[in-house]
């Protein structure tokens, strides 16, 4: 078989003129055996007009007209052509640098990407104080939720006196819809191990514990494999790289309680106690695991660390916004076309994330809100789409960075129901230790359940707000302190929806099943009996060729009848 040596990829999402011209030019030049023209559906690069990409060089042509075909074919055949253009997705990959690139089961792959060089450099050339100073200078802040400056945290743990200290990696990742940490652990486990060892050297610890949820068996297997490989090469264990520094890492499995992601509850869980938060202070940096000074960081936080040393703290501090440095990994989910895992510099706008990277709203529907920060966060409306995201900006609009889940909602989502969903989650996951969280959130949920079933009273608006503020002020840990956020933020931006439920007993989005009913239009109904035959609860009555009627008492609002009706006679009101 003759071998094709160059490929010309044409974006045909805007039409096939250029594609046809190129195909013609290839056969006219008699290059059909060595040059292939192939259609693709978009490249994800920022460019005007028709875009063509040439392989193997990977260069682009932009704004291509059919007249350019001969020139492009000749260039491609001679193995050149095109120039780079910027991609929509920014090219800053830090935490995900190796994820999807290296073989996570191969320590050689990792070392080939300068793996363990940052650790070796720190141990050989830097004092622990230097290491802490570099992390501080980078501006790195915790990626697990609160955004606390990582260098400062290491400094506190370093300064705490103690014969024994611990480095803990929080890999509990409990936010619904979040999978950033899992992807890092499964795709680049050594990056986390290396950073934990660097932290151990910085704070004076010789032992690390990774607290990983048991629902992540592949992440655990890859971590175990990575630990064994690193020990075999002398990159973990005793006398690392002959420097006299020793560091061991073990894995502790969590059983899937959301509150065990909170650092003090996590520490309790490792100790075999109930997964309940402890009163702070003392902070873990002073008295953590087994009451010894401990540093707790999130997986993604650790995954950034080696790059700070390989490229310099200034490099890291040069990415992002004034107060939020570096990049953030987000799990993009919900009503969006391109569901996936993305990494963008801090300061990227929500609009860029949703439309350029996420490809817009599924089914061409209207964007309504984006939820950030999981059960602790809030919903951000369309009017704030140009918000550059960082820790401060998200907090200023009543949400938070959280761990990086982004859930996109469209016109069919009811914001009261969304708030109810998150509250349902936090009530389920509350450990019950403190009253504001245990009882208060339950009361919030009860009110929301009444509102979404049309039984809400006007005074609930004030009661929700007041109780929400009290729960935030009085709860023991971050779970309770943030649980009312989804309610308060949706009340702030979508009060009209709350009012419609309470005053008019209507769900404007048509999502709250208790507030809608299916009705048959007697004008349009032909009495074909199709709806009645398909109704799963047999609640539609009517004789053949006579108007049918739905028994609203028994109707379960599944919508099957509306989907089946061939005459558009059934509507949801």
């Amino acid at each position: 078989m003759a071998k094709i040596t160059s490929n010309i990829l044409v974006d045909v999402s805007g039409g096939k003129d250029v594609y046809n011209a190129l195909a013609k030019a290839v056969s006219a030049a008699g290059l059909g055996k060595s040059v292939q023209v192939a259609a693709v559906d978009g490249f994800g690069v920022k460019a005007e007009g028709a875009v063509v990409k040439v392989l193997p060089s990977g260069g682009y042509y932009t704004g291509v007209a059919p007249e350019d075909a001969d020139r492009i074919v000749q260039a491609a055949a001679s193995g050149e052509g095109g120039s780079p253009v910027p991609a929509y997705t920014t090219n800053v990959r830090v935490a995900l640098k190796n994820v999807g690139y290296i073989d996570p089961a191969s320590i050689d792959d990792y070392i080939a990407t300068r793996g363990y060089e940052a650790l070796g450099g720190c141990l050989t050339n830097n004092t622990p104080q230097d290491v802490i100073a570099a992390v501080k200078a980078s501006g790195l802040r915790g990626r697990g939720g609160a955004g606390f400056p990582t260098g400062l945290k290491w400094e506190f743990a370093g300064k705490s006196a103690g014969d024994k200290k611990y480095v803990i990696c929080n890999a509990d990742e409990g936010d619904p819809g979040a999978f950033m940490d899992r992807s890092v652990l499964e795709g680049d486990p050594h990056a986390v191990l290396e950073a934990m060892a660097i932290c151990g050297y910085a704070i004076g610890a010789d032992e690390g514990v990774i607290y990983c949820r048991a629902e992540y068996p592949l992440a655990v297997a890859r971590l175990e494999n990575a630990i064994n490989q690193a020990e075999a090469l002398g990159l973990l264990g005793d006398n690392i790289l002959g420097t006299g520094f020793s560091f061991k890492i073990s894995i502790n499995l969590g059983a899937g309680a959301f509150v065990c992601g909170e650092e003090t509850a996590l520490i309790n869980s490792i100790e075999g106690q109930r997964g309940e938060p402890r009163l702070k202070p003392p902070f873990p940096a002073a008295a953590g695991l087994w009451m010894k000074p401990s540093n707790v960081n999130n997986v993604e936080t650790y995954a950034c660390v080696r790059h700070i040393f390989l490229n310099g703290p200034e490099w890291f501090a040069g990415i992002g916004t004034e107060k939020s440095k570096g990049t953030k990994v987000f799990a993009l989910a919900g009503k969006i076309n391109n569901v996936g895992l993305i990494e963008v510099p801090m300061g990227t706008t929500l609009r860029e994330i949703i439309y350029d990277i996420g490809g817009g709203i599924r089914g061409g529907k209207q964007f309504k809100a984006i939820q950030t920060g999981g059960p602790s966060g809030g919903c951000i409306p369309a009017s704030l789409l140009d918000l550059p995201i960082d820790y401060e900006s998200l907090a200023s609009v009543g949400s938070m960075m959280g761990s990086g889940g982004l859930i996109v909602m469209d016109e069919d989502d009811c914001m009261v129901n969304i708030a109810r969903y998150y509250l349902d989650f936090t009530v389920e996951e509350s450990c019950g230790k403190c009253t504001p969280c245990r009882i208060g959130n339950m009361r919030l949920l009860e009110m929301l359940e009444e509102i979404t079933s049309g039984k809400g009273k006007p005074e609930y608006i004030n009661e929700l707000r007041e109780l929400g503020e009290v729960i935030k002020d009085a709860s023991l840990c971050g779970l309770g302190q943030t649980a009312p956020n989804p309610v308060l933020s949706t009340m702030h931006y979508f009060m009209d929806e709350y009012e419609a439920h309470i005053r008019d007993h209507k769900c404007p989005a048509g999502a709250c099943s208790a507030l809608l009913k299916y009705v048959i239009d007697p004008e349009k109904c032909t009495g074909c009996t199709l709806c009645a035959r398909n109704c799963p609860v047999d609640c539609i009555a009517g004789e053949r060729r006579k108007t049918h009627v739905i028994d609203q008492e028994r109707c379960i609002k599944c919508g099957t009848c509306m989907a089946k009706c061939r005459f558009g006679a059934i509507s949801r009101v």
Partner: protein, 121 residues
Amino acid sequence: MAKLGSLDELKKYAAARSVGRADKTVLAVGAATCGIAAGAKDTIKALEDAIKANGVSGAEVVETGCLGFCYAEPLVEVRAPGAVPVRYAGVDAALARRIIKEHIIGGAVVEGAILSKEVPR
């Protein structure tokens, strides 16, 4: 395996290794939990079987982490020496066999299956 005794030894060890192979085309399959759930294990087997069945010597299949495009799993990235990578989306066993036949052996990309969204490293 001997332990590395110093930073210099680590650097020498690193210099002798590379992720890509100068003499081989690598077929990297996204095999994180997400990819596996979407069928990456079947994809890997189909690619390996096709490589064997066609007597291809210059290609090998490796597993890698999540490439980030959940909506397009299972994903295969073809990395030929000296060429920019080409990503294929929704690679089931049939498409895997076509990739080996048409792309690896014939040099022609498999039309209609390319995910060329740029995520530079």
